[in-house]
Amino acid sequence: MDENTTHNKDGQDDSKSSRRNFLKNIGLLGAGVAAGAGALYSGDIFEKKKAATGESKVLLTQDNRLVEVDSLEMKALAKNPTKLMLEKGREGIEGKRWVMVIDLSKCRNARRCIAACQDAHQLKPEQYHLNTLQMQDNAGTAPYHMPKNCQHCDNPPCVAVCPVDATYKRGDGIVLIDNERCIGCRFCMAACPYSARIFQWTTPKDADRHSGEAYNVEINVPQKLGTISKCLFSADRCRVGKLPYCVSACPNGVYYFGDENEDAVSNGTTQQTVRLSKLLRDNGAYQLMPELGTKPRVYYLPPKNRLFPFEPATDEVSKEG
């Protein structure tokens, strides 16, 4: 057995070494070719650069990095970018189940979340993806402020009634709207018990400025006249591993956002990451109108032990923008 093994081993070594030599030769040849081609190519680019004015442009990539690109190297994609983003937007982010927790005991109605949201989604002052409502459950209980956005229901009534599949539920739990598809029938608005949806009744904000831009379904901009809009859980930010606009903007630590599968949510203010199940359990978390069977993906922590006085909201939007 031993002898045989040794012999075999030797044989193997032989063939290995010859293969190695062969590969080495090929490798040398390849390297030479590559180097030559590289030289030619860089020479070509150098020539081009010489000929060009050297104009460079600063661009924001899809994952929100600023990069500098020479204008000559910029090539238009063969595919329509709107279409590309629409296709990508139909697929949820693999393995994720996004969830939001809103701690009502922290909300002081700063409304910075609203400002950040309206800024990101090109909304007018009276248009809310997210609104803080002044609530009082009954005469005997204390009033409180309640941020209210789309609940991203797991049994979404809006999605059920849409006649053209413009609004849809993704695998990662987010409910999105394809405004290249929406026919503006507003059945989803009628079906939503949370009044989460808004409609572009008039020309959207800064429509002129954004008219040529490709439509990004994950942030729903540019907004389109005659179509629906609503909270998207900042699907564009989820895509690049960042917290939603509202969550990051809150100064009071109201919002937690994260992944149900990982059982972890992060607070946008303190940047602390906590166990979702523990947070919900320890604080008596509840959902909005769970009796309707919509199965919301937003949890609320009750407004208990507030360390600040309740201040009624005053900032009414009096005119349509």
């Binding site: 009534p157 053209v164 599949d165 929406c182 026919i183 503006g184 059945f187 018990p193 179509t227 939007v317």
Partner: protein
């Protein structure tokens, strides 16, 4: 026989009255069309609807149109199939109203779309789960059956008039010839046409029930208080018969007067239609009591808000005018024979029809005005819905279209089925054209 022909067909000509009326309608149409062009240009914001009350006049009007079109089924199919002979002279009027309202209902819903240019998407990306797709399907079906029920019984009439009506305008002759489909009163032709009409009369009953039931589901399939009801289907259907009967009575009155049909649309017909109206109004009253009393007894929080708004709040005046003035009082009045004479019956029907329109408004708007969560931090016009002039004009546009369709059909074709009437009188108008 010639007397019947001239009685029922003498109005088929172009006269000054027709041009004046159509001219008026056309002008009004163009004015209202301008309003719709404004909406196309600037978006639905030209109407009063906003984020919370997102359905308003157009949807109320749509429900009213679907409702009014249902009467074709009640008169022709239900009353016809159980052998009520007196409905024969009214069937074509009922079918004309059905066709006109069903056709325009489809346009009314397009007027409510934020993106009407994407109408084809409803078919291209059709999602079977959406009640809108069901509604589109059944309304189209109902429209087609109603149109066939208008056209098929007209075939023998066309043949008779083409051959025997000397005053038929020459430009209408080819139309009549085509529509008569070479009718020669052959027994085989008669067999086919009777069979077809019979099948259609049976088919139209489920189709009609479907269109208004599905239309009611556009509301009842949501969880909102005021819409979240299990009786919305029959409630809407019974209400539809009230509106439709009133519309038929009004049309009968006008045709009788303008086309001098006193001998054919007699007091008996008005009396009987009055009784039909009483019957359907009673059924509707019954559903109304169910719809308001049952949640009113329990007063669940959201229902309590809804009912308070209706009965003593923002909508109280309209609510009581509609319920008492537009349903209860007409119902009591019509119990008296004297009130079922043509003139008083027509006046009552006008009130009932107007109330029927506002009733749809009361079904659509109040529910949207108080959603589950409070309406805050928005302008005043988001909280209270006020229709705009443009919105009213666009709504009028739909009524003008209905009037145009009814006028054209009734003006160029006999309003009362000619051959059927002659046969009921024991005459055979087709003898002379048999070959």
């Amino acid at each position: 026989m010639d007397l019947i022909i001239s009685d029922l067909s003498h109005h088929i000509r172009l006269n000054k009255g027709f041009f004046l009326w159509m001219g008026f309608l056309t002008l009004a149409f163009l004015a209202c069309l301008f309003a719709y062009i404004q909406q196309l240009k600037y978006g639905l914001g030209v109407a009063g609807v906003r984020d919370y009350i997102s359905w308003g006049l157009y949807i109320s009007n749509f429900v009213f149109f679907v409702a009014s079109s249902l009467i074709g089924m009640l008169i022709s199919a239900v009353l016809g199939l159980i052998g009520m002979k007196w409905v024969h002279p009214i069937t074509r009027i009922a079918e004309t109203i059905a066709v006109a309202f069903a056709a325009v209902a489809g346009l009314v819903i397009v007027m409510d779309m934020g993106r009407p240019e994407r109408l084809a998407y409803v078919f291209l990306y059709a999602r079977f789960q959406s009640p809108i797709l069901w509604d589109v399907t059944v309304i189209t079906t109902y429209f087609v059956i109603s149109l066939l029920l208008l056209l098929l019984p007209m075939i023998p009439d066309m043949a008779v008039l083409y051959k025997r009506f000397a005053n038929l305008p020459s430009w209408l002759k080819p139309v009549y010839k085509v529509m008569s489909l070479n009718w020669s009163d052959h027994p085989e032709q008669n067999r086919i046409i009777h069979r077809s009409i019979y099948i259609l009369l049976i088919l139209i009953i489920p189709a009609a029930l479907s269109i208004h039931t599905v239309t009611s589901w556009l509301f009842a399939l949501t969880v909102r208080p005021g819409w979240d009801s299990t009786i919305f289907g029959p409630y809407f259907v019974s209400g539809a018969f009230v509106a439709g009967s009133a519309a038929v009575i009004i049309a009968m009155f006008f045709f009788r007067k303008n086309y001098k049909l006193q001998d054919y649309l007699t007091d008996l017909h008005f009396n009987n239609m009055g009784k039909v109206l009483v019957l359907v109004a009673f059924v509707y009253l019954y559903f109304n009591i169910n719809e308001y009393l049952v949640p009113g007894y329990k007063l669940k929080r959201a229902d309590a808000v809804h009912l308070r708004e209706l009965m003593s709040g923002h909508f109280a005046l309209m609510f009581w005018l509609v319920q008492v003035g537009g349903l209860l009082i007409p119902l009591i009045l019509l119990l008296f024979r004297r009130m079922r004479k043509p003139l008083p019956l027509t006046m009552i029907s006008v009130v009932v029809l107007i109330a029927a329109w506002f009733k749809r408004y009361l079904i659509v708007v109040p529910t949207m005005s108080h959603p589950f969560l409070p309406i805050q931090h928005v302008p005043e016009n988001f909280k209270v819905y006020t229709p705009t002039i443009i919105e009213v004009a666009i709504t009028l546009l739909s009524f003008i279209l209905v009037l145009m369709i009814i006028t054209l059909i009734s003006k160029f074709f006999p309003v009362i089925p000619l051959v059927e009437t002659a046969k009921d009188k024991g005459l055979d108008p087709l003898k002379s054209i048999q070959s």
